[in-house]
Amino acid sequence: MATSDKLSETLADRPDRLSALSHRSPLTGDDGLLMREATHLGKLVLRLAETEAETLKIKALEGAGLPTQPCRSSVSHTGTVSVLWLGPDEWMVVSQAGTEEALQTRLHSELSGRHFQLSNVTDYYTCIDIAGHQNREILMNLSTLDMHNRTFSAGQIKGSIFGHANAYVWQLHTEPGASEIFRLIIRSSMADYLWCLVSRSARLFGMPEDTPISGEKLVI
């Protein structure tokens, strides 16, 4: 069932692959509060006409359909592939680290003949997972989204502004009783900014605060 963080740990066997937040270590706070980077998850952006998506069954997605209901995600039978709704003709396919290229190839061949676009954005984005029961509160410090569990539940994915950066927040499907995990999908170049902003917001819950990269000498 879980597209959980486990997946990200199987790193592809290649030289020195670094994630955008490789210079940061996971942080823990009170009551199981945990924030860490989910590294190298495979991410593909698929653009396809809304009308086609409704009927399309894509084998490569292993049972995960293209959600046409806004802000929803779907999960494959195996739990290793998720498809996130980003827009009416735009989805993100999230898969285990290192699987994105093969997946891309399969998708490509399955979709050939249609008007579509498939872009590998694995490194464009990275993810920060926030687990622990204060995570909704932490996110409320950063965005205007309604994070209440009445309106934000497992499987939902919403794009918004966090601090001053655009990002998506996705609540992972977790086992009943397990702690909720929110996954922030963020642009690599702004990852450090968001990491630090999240850690600052979590200070009250015992999380150590990281300060952003700055302080370099800018001018002469």
């Binding site: 700055s214 302080g215 370099e216 000498k217 800018l218 001018v219």
Partner: protein, 417 residues
């Protein structure tokens, strides 16, 4: 009876309990015929009327104001005055205004508290520095007072500014126009009204223009909430409402009306000596004589006539202010408000005749027309009186949007206030 303002009359009145002061302007009835009507009782409209009466002898004229005079942008602006604009045409008009400002108080016999305390425009990166230096150079050749300061000189001129190098937007330098500054917005409005009134101009408040009558492409009169008026000439100086007036005669304008906000802090003992503006961080601030920090914000990106903007903008404004002045953090915001600014595509005003004979437009001053007030009124009066723009006004015709000869100040003007 006390018509003249001076310290002796103030003392004399003081002894009599100030019972002898006269009304600063009359409350005349709307007449049925005028030689010219100015729509809009903001500072620009009143200045236009003042100069029409004073320089062109046109005294059978009226200023029609739908609310109370000075209640539009004239009553809501941060009063920054400078003339260090890039292009010749802009430098000419703003510098013309700056010169008029220096004596306006005396001319009007009204202390408008013109304070030439200096305006700093900060640069935070090389690109900005380049743009600002270009401006300084152009200013010098145009005879506009303007100089480049490095970060240390900026700090010397305005000690509370942080020039820490590790800020997100470090201050790397800036321009200074020493003759720039601020004045008292209400005093300007009232002083102009009083002086125009003394020359015979009818200032009619609570009088909204609702339609304009034309005949064969010529203005013949207008309708107002206080009755109708015959007049061969109408000057529209309605700022945020310019397109609404122009629509009455089917003159399309390239103008959008946006909310622009400002706010004041609680009053404090003198804290910053000059005006500080920054484009990258987007903030501009000065301190009024009463002691409040007067702080301007950015425009909201959508059309609105509500005289209020988004709270987001205020929050960001405050964060920006903290970037430049970290020591302001514990001070408090006392009041925020909004105005409706008339934004033109090239961030320059429109002072122009139109296809309708006798209908003249003065608009598009956007976020930065306060500083132009006397200059704008002066050249617009010329246009209304002579039916031809003078050399200073000529580049600001409506035609430029057709031919492409824009006075594109936004590319170059940093914050346009």
């Amino acid at each position: 009876m006390s018509s003249k303002y001076n310290v002796f009359n103030l003392i004399r009145q003081g002894l009599q309990g100030h019972t002898g002061w006269q009304a600063q302007w009359r409350e005349p009835e709307l007449k049925s015929t005028y030689d010219a009507v100015i729509i809009g009782g903001g500072a620009h409209g009143l200045a236009t009327a003042y100069y029409l009466a004073k320089n062109h002898g046109m005294t059978n004229i009226a200023v029609l104001e739908k609310g109370w005079i000075g209640g539009g942008n004239s009553g809501r602006n941060t009063t920054i005055i400078r003339s260090n604009y890039l292009y010749d045409a802009s430098a000419a008009i703003y510098n013309h205004a700056l010169k008029l400002w220096t004596t306006l108080g005396r001319d009007l016999n009204y202390n408008i508290m013109m304070s030439h305390r200096g305006v700093l425009n900060l640069a935070h990166d090389e690109g900005e520095a380049r743009t600002l230096k270009r401006r300084v150079e152009a200013n010098r050749l145009n005879g506009v007072d303007s100089e480049w300061l490095d970060a240390k000189q900026v700090k010397e001129f305005c000690p509370p500014i942080s020039i820490d190098e590790d800020m997100r937007y470090p201050v790397i330098g800036g321009t200074l126009q020493r003759s720039g500054g601020v004045n008292r917005h209400d005093a300007v409005v009232w002083g102009l009204a009083r002086a125009a009134d003394a020359l015979g101009v009818d200032i009619i408040q609570q009088c909204e223009v609702t339609s304009i009558r034309t005949d064969a492409g010529e203005v013949t009169g207008l309708e107002t909430t206080k009755g109708s008026v015959k007049t061969p000439k109408i000057g529209s100086v309605a700022a945020g409402h310019s397109t609404i007036i122009a629509d009455m005669v089917d003159v399309p304008l390239p103008i959008e009306s946006h909310p622009l906000q400002a706010l004041v802090s609680e009053p404090l003992k003198p804290l910053i000596p000059c005006v500080v503006m920054s484009n990258a961080v987007h903030v501009y601030v000065s301190q009024s004589d009463k002691g409040e920090l007067v702080i301007g914000a950015g425009i909201d990106p959508y059309v609105s006539y509500t005289q209020r903007g988004s709270f987001d903008i205020i929050e960001h404004q405050m964060a920006s202010l903290m970037e430049l002045f970290p020591i302001f953090s514990r001070l408090r915001m006392m009041r925020q408000w909004g105005g409706i600014v008339d934004v033109s595509p090239d961030a320059s005003p429109i002072i122009s005749k139109t296809k309708v004979k006798g209908f003249y437009i003065n608009a598009g001053w956007g976020t930065g027309g306060w500083k132009a007030t006397p200059g704008s009124g002066h050249v617009f009066a010329d246009l209304v009186a002579n039916d031809t723009p003078n050399a200073i006004a000529a580049p600001f015709s409506l035609e430029r949007f057709v031919t492409g000869d824009l006075v594109a100040e936004h590319g170059a003007a940093a914050v346009a206030h």
